[in-house]
């Protein structure tokens, strides 16, 4: 018999008193069950919702007045096994999420992060059971792209800071992407974060192709990269340039200024 089982046998002492049972019986029998709502009520409620929704769909001007169109200013890719991209407004709030594979589609259906700022969205993602299961042996790669380089650097630093509160340094990395990388990734229907890692591998071994590598998880790509380069993916962008520009944070996570992929 296990130790925990023996210890929990102390719970045998916990019993409901006669007073509690009698009081419960009395109270339960005094209460009346709530009236069952008839099907007509449900049909009426459903019809009201449908009319309301169609009203908004048929009259877009109403929607525009209530909710002005938001423009996408920045992109944050997230790759583990699920591969997705957060699209952000100028306040770094998530306004859309794109899935690049089936695993990501499932996650997006269960985790609602729209409207959250991107740091909190990532933390919310990391609370999801499926993501936690992936992260058991997995690795998270976050990519950041905006046209404004200063904003990119700030976003990268704040995401690193945020992830360091819940993940070990060996479990993730975050790096900025260039416009070329972003556009090339789009051409290959990949998240740009994943594309960056594939590019690093291709620089070391041109025997691989993007098509061969694109279906691998980030962990698998990381292992390929590290076996070819002999260095950790997490530190692959930690060059002197990062330190000179003062964007290395106290925990030593990398900031990327001139990462190798930019040489392309």
């Amino acid at each position: 018999m296990s130790f925990l089982k023996r210890t929990l046998s102390d719970l045998d002492q916990i019993k409901a008193s006669t007073h509690l049972k009698n009081k419960t019986l009395y109270t339960v029998m005094q209460k009346k069950p709530k009236k069952q709502v008839s099907n007509t009520h449900y049909i009426f409620a459903l019809a009201s919702v449908v009319i309301f929704v169609f009203g908004f769909l048929l009259f877009p001007r109403i929607i525009d007045k209530i909710e002005p169109k938001q423009s996408i200013d920045a992109y944050v890719s997230v790759d583990i096994n699920p591969s997705m991209e957060f699209r952000l407004d100028n306040n770094n709030k998530v306004i859309d999420i794109i899935a690049y594979n089936e695993e990501a589609k499932i996650i997006i259906e269960t985790v609602n992060v729209k409207g959250m700022n991107v740091e909190n969205a990532l933390l919310r993602l990391l609370e999801n059971e499926n993501i936690l299961n992936y992260m058991e042996l997995g690795y998270m790669r976050v990519g950041v792209y905006t046209e404004d380089e200063i904003r990119s650097a700030k976003l990268e630093a704040s995401i690193n800071q945020s992830l360091s509160t819940v993940l070990k340094t060996t479990q993730y990395s975050c790096a900025r992407a260039s416009k070329i990388e972003y556009l090339e990734a789009e051409n290959h229907h990949l998240s740009f974060g994943k594309y960056q890692v594939i590019e690093l591998i291709l620089e070391l071994n041109q025997g691989f192709t993007i098509e061969e590598l694109k279906d691998n998880s980030i962990r698998e790509l990381k292992e390929v990269y590290e076996s070819l380069s002999g260095e950790s993916l997490s530190s692959s962008h930690q060059e002197n340039n990062g330190q000179q520009n003062g964007c290395e944070n106290g925990k030593g996570h990398h900031c990327d200024n001139d990462n190798k992929a930019h040489k392309k």
Binding site: F3, T7, L8, D10, I14, L20, L25, P33, E129, N133
Partner: protein, 165 residues
């Protein structure tokens, strides 16, 4: 709604179990009465037949856990930090290992559920997954993490190692 005899039968069979679930979740005696009433009222209103007594028991466990969680969501719990006090539960005999019991009670809710249902109620992982409406892998993960936390808490693992063989 079920008859008084049927509700009385359920109280005789399951009230101790519901009381134990309240012990694991709640910190105020007054909330135990509310939970009891809600659980057995829902039982009384549920006229769908159960497939077996085991099914009935699992149903009550699920409702009791949900009622305890609802109770904990009240604003009061968010404001006040109530300490665990084993003596308020009227245990006549002192627990043999109070530090272990307190360590279990200090676990996050979901880990406590799994430890209680597995080690005390004797449910298998797959049964616990059905009761808690989670995937089996999730329950395995919670079980592992619960044991890791208990190991860390209980004298750096030596106490736990000696006694879990």
């Amino acid at each position: 709604m079920l008859s008084e005899e049927e509700v009385k039968r359920a109280l005789e069979l399951y009230s101790d179990m519901v009381r134990r679930i309240c012990f694991i979740y709640l910190k105020k005696e007054v909330d135990v009465e509310d939970v009891f009433q809600n659980v057995f009222f829902k039982y009384a209103c549920n006229t769908k037949p159960y497939q077996s007594q085991e099914h009935e028991k699992a149903w009550i466990i699920r409702v009791a856990i949900n009622e305890c969680k609802s109770s904990l969501r009240k604003w009061f719990y968010r404001q006040v930090d109530l300490k665990e006090d084993l003596s308020m539960y009227g245990m006549e005999d002192k627990p043999k290992h109070p530090e272990v019991l307190e360590a279990v009670l200090a676990l996050p809710q979901k880990y406590r559920d799994v430890i209680y249902l597995y080690y005390y109620e004797g449910y298998k992982i797959i049964e616990i997954a059905k009761i808690l409406n989670r995937q089996e892998n999730t329950i395995h993960t919670w079980m592992r993490r619960a044991k890791e936390r208990l190991k860390e808490q209980l004298l750096g693992g030596e106490f736990f190692e000696e006694n879990t063989k």
